[in-house]
Symmetry: C2
Subunit: 196 residues, 2 copies
DNA sequence: TTACAAACATACTATTTAGTATGTTGGCAG
DNA sequence: CTGCCAACATACTAAATAGTATGTTTGTAA
């Protein structure tokens, strides 16, 4: 059972994330957050000493666990990595109901918006993305040792490439919708199969 | 020779773009723009009836010509498309001195930030990106007719994939710097060569 | 030259912003 | 029970914000 205070904090974080997902971090005001949560300003600033602290809490307390559970762990024990990466991309692009194509991916959005203007955000987000990249690299290297991937493949480069594609297609989707996603998926599948 | 008024307008647009590139559109205030340009508020609102109109003018009067001249036209008459696309990506990522890795690409940034929150921006930006995509598709199709690309390649999908990769690596670069760019370039080269 | 509109300048406003100061309440250790 | 502090609530502030109202200047057509 979660304490009342912890519940309030979670409520603030979740609603804030929702608003930030739709409007961006800098355009989401604390007044708007407290209005939609029915939490008072006093409560907000009791839990977070500043807006920035709240933003960083979203990264560390929501993004991190979600990404670790949803991407990093699933990549750890899998026998057919190539197929699994494709499936994961497909599933994250199409199946996740929390996502809205028009709004893209909350993590990617925050990288875009905040990493150039705040070193704290950049560091927190780069830790997160590094974690995902590392998980991909490790998985690919294992597959390489098992002979599922050619020996001359540079796993780190492949990981960067996959991540880039994912970030980018979230952007394209904002303009052109689902079609971007399926086009991307078809080509990444082709690319991934060439690694075998 | 440009009229004085046209010069002022250009000055506003160029400086605004600079500020938006660094801080984002919504976080760039008109007060900041007129401070750094030494243009008065009266002049600003004489040339643009609102901040949004100025933002759209950046897309239509700066992005469009730049992209048409720098990407669309170069793609029109070229004999080795695969190599040319790679060279263009390399050059746009590494050679262009107006770009700063930490800030990404101004067009991509604006897509990320504004297309979810403003239909006018979304439309203007989607026209722009569609133009680039179409140029890629046409070039690829020509190459396909000339036998430089396999017949079973879906040119539109490839174009989407390349664009996605570009958008995405601009994002990755914000976190990890140049290394993302070179990693991306190596893999896209591999991908492109598989189309032959 | 002079009229007059285009091109700018200045001063203002209503709202929104993050953050603060100063309260009040509710639960539970002693 | 009671004192005390975590957990909230309310009222405020100074700065920033997009935009407006009302000017003045400047080029140029007649």
């Amino acid at each position: 059972m979660m304490s009342k205070a912890a519940t309030t904090k979670k409520l603030i974080l979740n609603k804030s994330l929702e608003l930030i997902y739709k409007n961006g971090y800098q355009s989401t005001s604390i007044d708007e957050i407290i209005a939609t949560t029915n939490v008072t300003k006093g409560a907000f600033f009791y839990h977070f000493k500043s807006k920035e602290e709240m933003g960083l809490a979203i990264i560390n307390e929501i993004f991190f666990p979600t990404v670790i559970d949803g991407l990093v762990h699933p990549l750890e024990k899998v026998d057919n990595i190539i197929d699994e990466i494709y499936k994961m991309l497909h599933s994250i692009l199409f199946d996740h109901s929390a996502f809205n194509i028009a709004y893209g991916c909350p993590v990617v959005n925050l990288v875009e918006e905040m990493s150039p203007v705040s070193e704290s955000f950049r560091k927190a987000l780069s830790r997160l993305l590094l974690r995902v990249q590392q998980a991909l690299v490790t998985a690919l290297e294992t597959a390489q040792r098992n002979g599922q991937i050619r020996k001359d493949v540079n796993c780190k480069r492949v990981a960067t490439f996959i991540l880039s594609g994912y970030c980018g297609v979230r952007n394209m989707g904002k303009l052109f919708g689902k079609e971007s996603y399926s086009n991307f998926l078809r080509e990444i599948k082709f690319y991934l199969n060439q690694l075998k």
